[in-house]
């Protein structure tokens, strides 16, 4: 099985974990993307929301599980063919929540282009943006090295 290990700087990543945990906690009972209109009421809501939430929470648990006590000893996180899809999705969910919860001051155009000087941001927004970029980097690593496995899986 293909396995990718990434060595991270503890001093750089540890401060971002609070943001990830807070965003993940906010997603415990709500979906990162609102349901389409037709699926928001009654039976539809049960059929869609419950399994989507379960799937989302499974991914979030795997993402948070990367940063366990071993991570704080080694600074290493690992992706493989079994966790790649869940982690990729979980990163997307947390990035959407971080944007909604911590980065509302930044316009959509700035989010899309990344054209912002972090020095001009307040501490909280800068930290959230770094978290957002960190999760994007994780996604890029997974797609680059395990994208084919995800497509074939």
């Amino acid at each position: 099985m293909k396995r990718i290990e990434v060595k991270l700087s503890l001093s750089a990543v540890a401060p971002l974990l609070d943001i990830i945990k807070t965003a993940a906690g906010s997603l415990a009972w709500s979906l990162a993307v609102a349901l389409p209109d037709f699926a928001r009421d009654g039976e539809w809501r049960d059929v869609w929301a419950r399994p989507l939430l379960e799937s989302q929470n499974t991914g979030l648990a795997q993402l948070l599980g990367l940063f366990d006590s071993d991570f704080f000893k080694t600074g290493v996180i690992a992706f493989d063919e079994e966790n790649a899809t869940s982690l990729l999705r979980a990163c997307a969910a947390v990035r959407l929540q971080v944007r909604a919860q911590f980065l509302t001051a930044l316009p959509d155009a700035v989010m899309e282009t990344g054209a912002v000087d972090p020095v001009t941001l307040d501490d909280g927004t800068r930290k959230a943006l770094m978290c957002h970029l960190f999760l994007a980097t994780m996604q890029e690593v997974i797609i680059r090295h395990l994208g084919n496995s995800i497509l074939e899986g």
Binding site: V33, P36, A92, R95, L96, E112, L151
Partner: protein, 103 residues
């Protein structure tokens, strides 16, 4: 989507009309909407995974979403359209269903 060809069938039976109407009523579009968060490479991967697009087609739809705010990624019967919308939701992409008025 039609069950008869008007040029060769000058008269249309009630049964044929019903069939045509049902086919149109069952035609739906899955539309993916833009968001300022998800990576282009991620969206391309999701399109390839869910719809079996090749890289070029997936990229074309992704750019359409990015530049025009939306892209029709699938057309067909309602039940399957719902399944695709659900799957897109599982990947945290915003998708809506629209009745296909033009087919």
């Amino acid at each position: 989507m039609t069950t008869t060809t008007p040029a060769t069938t000058p008269t249309t039976t009630p049964k044929e009309k019903t069939g045509e109407k049902t086919a149109l009523a069952d035609s739906w579009r899955v539309v993916v909407l833009n968001d300022p968060v998800n990576l282009m490479s991620y969206v391309v991967l999701v399109f390839r995974k869910l719809f079996g697009f090749d890289e070029t087609t997936a990229r074309r739809h992704m750019l359409e979403v990015h530049e025009r705010g939306r892209s029709v990624v699938w057309r067909g019967v309602r039940e399957q359209a719902e399944a695709y919308a659900y799957a897109l939701h599982e990947w945290h992409l915003t998708a809506i269903l629209e009745r296909n008025e033009t087919d």
